[in-house]
Amino acid sequence: MPGSCSGGKQFWNKGLFGLRKSSWLLWLIPLLFLGFFFLYPLTAIFGLALRTNELGWTSFPWQRVGSILGFTIFQAVLSTLLTVLVGLPAAFLFGRYDFKGKNLIRLLSTLPFILPTVVVAAGFNAIIGPNGLLNLLLMQIWHLDQPPIQILNTLAAILLAHVFYNTAVVIRTVGSSLEQLDPRLEQASRTLGASPWRSFWEVTLPLLRNSLASAALVVFLFDFTSFGVILLMGGPQFATLEVEIYYQTMQLLNLPLAAWLSIIQLGCTLILTVIILHRGGGLPIPVAPRLSHSTNRQIQSWKERLFLVMMMVLLIALLVMPLVALVLRSLTKLDAVRSGNNTIFGFTLQYYRELFINRQQSLFYVPPVEALRNSFFYALAASGLALFFGSLATYALLQKSRWNKFFDPLIMLPMGTSAVTLGLGFIIVFATLPNARDFYPVLIPIAHSLVALPFVVRVLQPALASIPSSLKQVAATLGASPWQVWFSVELPIASRAAAVAGLFAFTISLGEFGATAFLSRPDIPTLPVAIFRFLSQPGSLNYGQALAMATILMALCASVMLVIDRINTINS
């Protein structure tokens, strides 16, 4: 038949280089990467667990594993409840009211979202730790010998850190659906005779139920897989699955038990992730076109003012104080000589200066500032890798093949896998190789890029998909080859999303602690690992240096977040 063509496919389904039949090439590269560095280590964990004969079912420590799993779930449930309790009113405040300083508080409340766990731990240590500012102040005021606040290494500290961490998730998820909620629904219920409380209870809350549930599930997942917070703030008596995997691997060298714990952990997190991804999107919320500020109310009545003040105090105490304390404490000198019970405070840059010095008794063979350099290069490499594989995977996903059903969850899989499990898998696979230690510096950015990959794809995908196909088509009618279309239309339009994705990957890598704790070599530490080691050592100089490094790491992450926020503002 003259002029007959295969199928009714559109020209633009031909793909990146115009090669319709070879869109599988796009998949091949990220899949090879995922297969070798992700699926292979995971299967190695399964293999090790199944192969081990010494660990018969009779001698398997059921009770210990059971109580660890029990505690993991218990603390996660409790943390999630507390987080929702703080986050829901905060979301309401941000979603419904306009007030001075709202933008600053909004920015500050999203900061914890990207802060590394070690920074959070250091922050809480700096305010409520035995050498923290609050304890120092109280000891000064009441002339005490012992720090009065002793909640570090208790469950309370874990819960506090988890609430600090995840309130941003609730504010973001629930707040954005609250903003999209048609305010006329609540107004209608008011005209039908509902009090403000009842219209909240019977109209607003049921409409937010979905996003609230989504937020709670995400928070639960984060709390369930929390590693750094438990390790650094819970102390040795608390072990979640994550922490136990770490202890069993790094201290007791019981890899088979660690493998079994990993499998249990993986089972739980995968189920959670599948549920979360399935619920994602499609929230049945009536969306009405509205002016950007038309629904937001001004604070007027004394009740509203009281609500605002109380929420502000709570949010600032919870979200801002630890970070402020971290900075202050890293600049505070304690005089060793105490006159009576009085400690003399002073300003000092000593802890920062010490970072450049390699002391004899130092834990490292190099000055601590090297850790900053290492982290920077690891993050650069990791974000490069994540962007490369992530953009290939995104293009492949946009090809709309029937294989997507299978590939899309595969790309998201690292999100449901804890970093500690990844670290264990790497140890099992690569530790047996000759000269294994030489590989570790390469493995760290690879592990980081795997953690960042799902985020990169989730940022790039909507940006690339939102480019109207008419733009690409008009470029073709104007004489642009598929390659020119990509280079002069898609790339410039998607460049901001790519920058955001790259910056996300960069921050994730900067703060990654779980996998790094397994793979980092003492002579090539990353910043989080260095902070962890300094924090676990006695002595005020070590403590001060840990806080100084945590401050630097926080400043780095905060500036990256500011850049991202700036890009997003320009975009919209």
Binding site: Q10, S470, A475
Partner: protein, 349 residues
Amino acid sequence: MQAVLKVVDIHKHYDGQSLLRGVSFEVQSGEILCLLGSSGSGKSTLLRIIAGLENQEHGKVLWQGQPMDGLPVHQRNFGLMFQDYALFPHLNVFSNVAFGLRMRGISEELIGKRVKKALDMVDMDAFKNRRVTELSGGEQQRVALARALAPEPRLLMLDEPLGALDRSLKEQLSNELRTLLHQLDIPVIYVTHDQQEAFTVSDRLVILHAGHIQQQGTAEDILSHPASLWLADFLGFTNQLHGKVKMVFPLIVETSQGLFHSSFSVSNLKPGQKVTLVLKPEHSKMVRKNQNGNMISGKVLDVTFRGDGYLTKISVRSEKIISFKSPQNHKVGSSLQVVFPCESVLCYV
């Protein structure tokens, strides 16, 4: 004049439904051909097939006798102006217009000249440094046109170029557009669903419906003798009467309103065949006395003033409504007799 573009027997399915079922037409050089059809008639798909953005299942697109199959979009040099303009949001006005020239690797100096020429043509040179997002709808439309023209395409296609604009701007621009397109001296295919716009802009029209071409020809051909009852409906000839053929030569049809002579019929008729008559209002006349045939009588139902006369609706035995233009303002409720001369009576099966 010779046909430069030939579209031969194009077939295309979309979502399992047949969208184009054997469409053929030709475009001559320097001619503005209008593809007119309601939304979903496949006219945009036809443009996209000619542009190479979509593939036909059957049929050919020929440029000066050469089949275009296998020639990718970017090598066809067919300009296409999209319905939503599709201006590149990351480029300013100048760079949008320069895009096609840059793709051809033309020197920046020459690009500057040709962009200026294209922008001058649409009177937008003063806007060259603006961001496209700052432009109004009409300005965006002109930039999109300049962008399509700058690479000097051998064929220009416009997909609902005025579709996004409001009525008054549309009327003004369609006249300007016709003048401008004629100056180009290249074949132009103009897609629209707006009849008024189509009749204003085009030299010739192709009317698409249900995957088929209903009629092609000049505005005069089509308006004086619509080729089908559907087309008469589509063009707004709503005065219709049902009847039976009484005599074939000359054509006489018997209706509930008496006998009607008709000078136009689309197919071979047989006596006794059921037919529908379309009464075109233009040449209708009011009469005082009863006449033999071609006459409608009824009561005035509604009168509206339309600038060049009064649109008068009369009800015929309170079951049928016939409208026509009258120079006089008749009172609602009064009785009237209207005669439609035989050249205004069209007969369809």
